[in-house]
């Protein structure tokens, strides 16, 4: 094929590792210089005596302190904005906090342009072109999935339909009237949309031109994605972003759907053990730590995202050299330690999902039993597949064995009836630690 390439920015997307690191070092030094002009980083960095000259190689980033969400809150609203840039700020996005101040991220026009570029690059990666009709069925306003995708899709040159969230019949009318080919929505909304089509008696596969769905912002499993794809007869790609790092376009799946390429010309990516804060080995789960490399108004360095993921080891078949991270399945706050072993609920979830006899709802309880810590895992029986005790017992033993292989500790597995555990709505407490503190 001539003329058309699969890359939006071939030179950047296929840079060698050496080139990427060289660019990162250069941009990191610029970022430190810029950040030190903000009240927050000026105070932090002068305290420990670090500046741009601290950095000579990419690993030197470990000499810099982490930035946390609490830091952003404590500096509310403009403590991280670079001196002299306040007048250049053209937009802010604020995320609500459940306690105390919300966080605020300020963008200059340059920052917004770079953000739109990343989103355009991501959209192009999954096959969106200027001939496409892009319907953004995501909340607008402060939620970065609205304006973030809006400007990215415009930059790419697609016809954008800023439908915003909700009103399913109207969404469906737009999809049909405007021949929408690409839709962005949170995963749970795609299910509602699909139900809408069914209720209206419209065959979404035959009577629409939908070919790509972009889903993100809400944790979802690969199984859920496959179901969405089967329902719509379209490809669904996972989008990752967070408002502190601008929003969508931080990382995105390519058409191979095996992890999300994270744009390393714009971010330095680290994955660390949430306890020791040391880097984990490639392929191991840890907390994602990101540094912005192209933000003028409000650079953020070594931001602890609290998102748990891992690097996907090896090269991607698409030819892009920017590393891939696994879909985010949990938060580092959920990690717990039993008998000196770090355990993440997502490890347990992964094992439980292998058993069709049990549901995905579970409850982990850690308690002192004598001088030992004991971990109890209650799982809901999905279907009463037998009335034979020995079969139920065998299932319990099999779950226990697989869990032990994964977390290296033998848990006590307890089968419970369907719906007897608290329902998960994304925020449910799945770990209950009853140990004496």
């Amino acid at each position: 094929m001539h003329g058309e390439t699969i890359y939006y920015q071939p030179a950047i997307e296929t840079m060698s590792r050496e080139e990427i690191e060289k660019l990162q070092v250069k941009r990191l030094k610029e970022t430190i210089t810029q950040a030190t002009k903000s009240p927050f980083y000026r105070a932090e960095y002068s305290k420990i005596g670090v500046d741009a000259s601290t950095i000579t190689s990419i690993n030197d980033i470990r000499k810099l302190p982490f930035t946390t969400k609490a830091d952003l809150r404590d500096s509310y609203p403009f403590g991280l904005v670079v001196d002299g840039m306040k007048d250049k700020v053209v937009r802010l996005h604020s995320s609500s906090g459940t306690t105390g101040h919300p966080t605020v991220i300020c963008h200059s026009q340059h920052d917004l342009d770079q953000w739109a570029m990343r989103v355009a690059r991501s959209l192009y990666m999954v096959g969106v072109r200027e001939t496409d009709v892009f319907q953004n069925s995501s909340g607008y306003g402060m939620f970065t999935g609205g304006l973030g995708f809006q400007y990215g899709a415009e930059k790419l040159g697609a016809l954008t339909v800023p439908a915003a969230a909700g009103n399913t019949p109207r969404q469906i009318k737009f999809i049909q009237d405007f021949d929408t080919t690409v839709i962005h929505a949170i995963p749970s909304y795609t299910s509602r949309l699909y139900e809408g089509f069914v209720e209206m008696g419209i065959d979404v596969k035959k009577e629409t031109n939908l070919k790509i769905l972009l889903i993100g912002a809400e944790p979802h499993t690969d199984e859920q994605r496959k179901k969405i794809e089967a329902n719509f007869g379209a490809k669904a790609y996972n989008s990752f972003g967070l408002s502190e790092m601008s929003g969508p376009g931080v990382a995105f799946e390519c058409t191979y759907q095996d992890g999300l390429h994270i744009w390393e010309d714009c971010y330095i990516v680290e994955i660390v053990n949430p306890e020791t804060l040391e880097p984990v080995a490639d392929g191991e789960i840890g907390e994602l730590v990101l540094t912005t490399l192209d933000r003028d108004a409000m650079p953020i360095i070594r931001y602890r995202t609290r998102d748990l993921t891992r690097f996907i080891v090896g090269d991607c078949a698409c030819g892009r050299t920017h590393r891939r991270i696994d879909r985010v399945k949990g938060r580092s706050d959920d990690m717990f330690i039993v008998k000196g072993v770090n355990i993440f609920p997502m490890q347990i979830e992964k094992v439980l999902m292998e058993f069709e006899q049990i549901g995905t709802n579970y409850l982990i309880t850690i308690a002192n039993v004598g001088s030992n810590d004991e971990i109890k895992i209650e799982v809901e029986l999905n279907t009463m597949f037998t009335d034979d005790y020995s079969k139920l017992e065998k299932l319990g033993k099999e779950i226990t064995r697989k869990l032990r292989d994964e977390i290296l500790i033998t848990p006590k597995v307890l089968l419970v009836g369907k719906n007897s555990l608290p329902q998960q709505d994304g925020k449910a407490v799945r770990v209950s630690d009853l140990r004496d503190k």
């Binding site: 279907t383 009463m384 037998t386 009335d387 307890l414 419970v416 369907k418």
Partner: protein, 142 residues
């Protein structure tokens, strides 16, 4: 061969759970013909023969209780110990393994509810020894 439908419910081992589960049926016009609870330290299984298996199963499913339906054999015999033992021996003679059983008596008659491992072998025993089986309809009339 006449068989009877049995409902098995998963029962968490916590105080009051049995009452809780049976309360689900309070609004329904059904009767419980026979029941048995077996438990381990961790959970139990409640087994029920009711006057309307499908309705009861649906009520439990709607109440999010795990339900399993299986076929069991209801054998009628005289209530004395000799008859009781003789019937079980008849099945054993044909190589039938009884996985579990429970029974109830009414006047001089006992009804044994048997879960057998091999329904064909059980059928042979029934024919050979002229064993009296009960259908659901017959059980309701008791």
């Amino acid at each position: 061969m006449k068989t009877v439908k049995q409902l098995s419910l998963f029962l968490e081992n916590k105080f009051g759970r049995l009452n809780e589960i049976l309360e689900v049926l309070s609004g329904a016009n059904v009767s419980i013909i026979a029941s048995s609870v077996a438990d381990t330290t961790e959970y139990g299984i409640l087994r029920l023969i009711t006057s309307d298996t499908d309705t009861v199963a649906q009520i439990f499913r709607d109440a999010n209780v795990n339900v399993f339906i299986s076929e069991v054999v209801a054998v009628s015999c005289k209530a004395d110990a000799v008859s009781f033992a003789a019937q079980l021996k008849n099945f054993a003679n044909e190589g039938v393994v009884i996985e579990y059983m429970y029974s109830f008596s009414r006047e001089q008659e006992t009804v044994m509810i048997l879960k057998v491992n091999d329904i064909k072998a059980a059928e042979r025993a029934v024919e050979k020894y002229n064993i009296t089986l009960m259908s659901e309809q017959q059980l309701i009339k008791l």
